[in-house]
Symmetry: C2
Amino acid sequence: MHKSTALLTDMYELTMLESTLKSGAANRASVFEVFCRRLPSGRRYGVVAGTGRILEDLLDFRFTDEELDYLRQSRIVSEETIDWLADYRFAGDIYGYREGECFFPNSPILTVTGTFAEAVLLETLILSILNHDAAVAAAASRMTIAAHGRPCLEMGARRTHERAAVSAARAAVVGGFAGTSVLEAGRTYGVRAIGTAAHSFTLVHDTEEDAFAAQIETMGPGTTLLVDTFDVEQGVVRAVAAARAAGGELGAVRLDSGDLVAQAFTVRKQLDDLGATSTKITVTSDLDEYAIAALGAAPVDSYGVGTKLVTGSGFPTAELVYKLVAREDSEGAIKEVAKRSKSKASHGGLKVAGRVLDETGVAREELIVSCQSWEQGRAALEERGARPLQVPLVLGGEIQAHDSVQEAAQHHVASRNELPYQAWRLSDGEPAIPSTMIDIFPGDDRVYDGT
Amino acid sequence: MHKSTALLTDMYELTMLESTLKSGAANRASVFEVFCRRLPSGRRYGVVAGTGRILEDLLDFRFTDEELDYLRQSRIVSEETIDWLADYRFAGDIYGYREGECFFPNSPILTVTGTFAEAVLLETLILSILNHDAAVAAAASRMTIAAHGRPCLEMGARRTHERAAVSAARAAVVGGFAGTSVLEAGRTYGVRAIGTAAHSFTLVHDTEEDAFAAQIETMGPGTTLLVDTFDVEQGVVRAVAAARAAGGELGAVRLDSGDLVAQAFTVRKQLDDLGATSTKITVTSDLDEYAIAALGAAPVDSYGVGTKLVTGSGFPTAELVYKLVAREDSEGAIKEVAKRSKSKASHGGLKVAGRVLDETGVAREELIVSCQSWEQGRAALEERGARPLQVPLVLGGEIQAHDSVQEAAQHHVASRNELPYQAWRLSDGEPAIPSTMIDIFPGDDRVYDGT
């Protein structure tokens, strides 16, 4: 696998670069914006995730000899463009919502300013990261809401691409998950690694008793034993006995099949009858936010979530787009630009966004100001009492201090807690707060619409 | 990013290793099998994809000092286990269906034999690769069926994780796609890279005419121009004129919004009226297999597919599992093993599989023989006239010659062409052929079920 991230890019970014280098448009100051036209059907909010990964990958976005050789051999661009790429370093600015922030339709979650050439090249990589990570974080957030404080653990590595799995674990933590099964996420992001045992572990031993004893010998009685390989009731008896034989009380049992609600009650009663009142129950079979909610009244202590988490619980991509919203014209003035075709119309201009809270601290509106500069937009937000949502992530090509995964997770809790009650509902509905667009871009003929 | 793939692994694989090293079960000869209990709802067949990637990643599945340091610092396993991991090389065998082969419920698409310890460690990585790649390849296969020979092009990088995008492009080619937009897939797998231009390219220029002229200047009149940034009819006139001004006829126009069926007819007529009868039409807006089928009667020449392809068209993961099906007992005899809990019961024993064709060459049955050795199973297949489906991929730890992506794509066409007519239907239904399990494993008390 190549370390450079520069070819994680659609070919047309490079051919557009080539054409604009010829036409001269390459050097026009430009503003690109990441936003979504709508949230996935019925969702109440989105969750920004992946920002930190963009900043890491930006450092590796370099066209080294290996990348340039491929471009040369495949004749994708000319030698002039290859020379330009050899020196490429993004030298512009990136502003964005804090990682973990909730977002809504048209929220400008990332804004890239620079020349057209330097900014267009980042389109594919930025969208890949945000579309994937935001999809997983949104699912994670809904699941942690449904879990009402019980820990949720990420166990979906085997159900998604092996490298996506690492990023999914990271995004799950941003959305409130307490740990992950995937070790590379533990190493790379300092996320707590967790795990129990598989059915194969029981099956490779001669008896279930042998398997439980072997696990307890290395992991201690505080471990979690998988009790549903054969007969659950029998498994629970053996599990508790195995821990006690080692001089302790069993940490937890895991249920991975069957009717989890009914089983949780049965197993809890059985554990209590055995005197194992401190032994916990974790469940792990095909959970999503609805199954977790349905288990809310059952005596379950934690949830292990796989497939539905890493695939965004029905929405594996966040539908974020990266659009040119303003650029320099031939006289050097910045003009709003917008696509005018009917089904994909977009709003032009740099957007400065803030969240308007009411007197009780509840969010009421996403205020999005189309304007000509950060200063102008910020003033408009201040006037209206809105909390500014964008922070500088890259200035003049230099990556700025930014939130860790753990800080992003904390920020998500704060941002989510600010939302009105309906944001917490799992059922389909409208976005939790409306997005209001205000246009203070000066001038009348500002919109370039190709006419 | 770390090159080693060893930590793309669930933590429990390592703690199970540790416990079995203590209990002695680690060294038991074992057979693990990858299969699905069912196809995603209504699908007629699955497509094996990712096999070649498993073999590449196996070479990098090494616990180097960096991986061992993490395990030591996080106290996930003991020093004894860390010593064992430092020397780890998979030394067993892997057999599997050829990449591109169609599969059905219970098809044993990958079989890993070796000690429990060496085989259990590969579970997570193997499942991640196959579950992702098979999901994309299955979607690609349905789309290329719906396209009836018109080229399908992969353009979904921005809608999935940046590294998954590269593998998705590869899987799309296995499923019949003709090219990809993502350059890293071009470099890594020799897949044809393709691309047009984005709306931002038009918008950064002062006029649509300027943009078209700039693209044609570098790409030639044979390029594909995006004509729906402003007004499609106007765009088509300008596009044809721009190519002619450069002394050629335009290669193609791209439509990326609106009612594609109606627009294709309108634009085709307009192009023909302009005399641009050789100019092709490519469409790219939110396509899936159903939208492609609906465009079958429209004058469209190729399809660019994004979101729905890379997310498996509704089924982003293939539901494949990796199960222990046989292992040595304490006397050194190989015993079938199977989980007996009701909702996830599995079939024990090594499986040798073949496809039974009728006299016209049409597949009629997936024959799956539970047996004790490859020889025994092969003999049973031969007796019944079934084409053997498994080939050796790794023998004694040595990776064998295997299909390239292009060969896998060819094999997929051959395998799909063998299936009965109902396999080609997009509507929900039963698997195209039934899976028949035969058990010739000797002995009566062979099944270990924990009692």
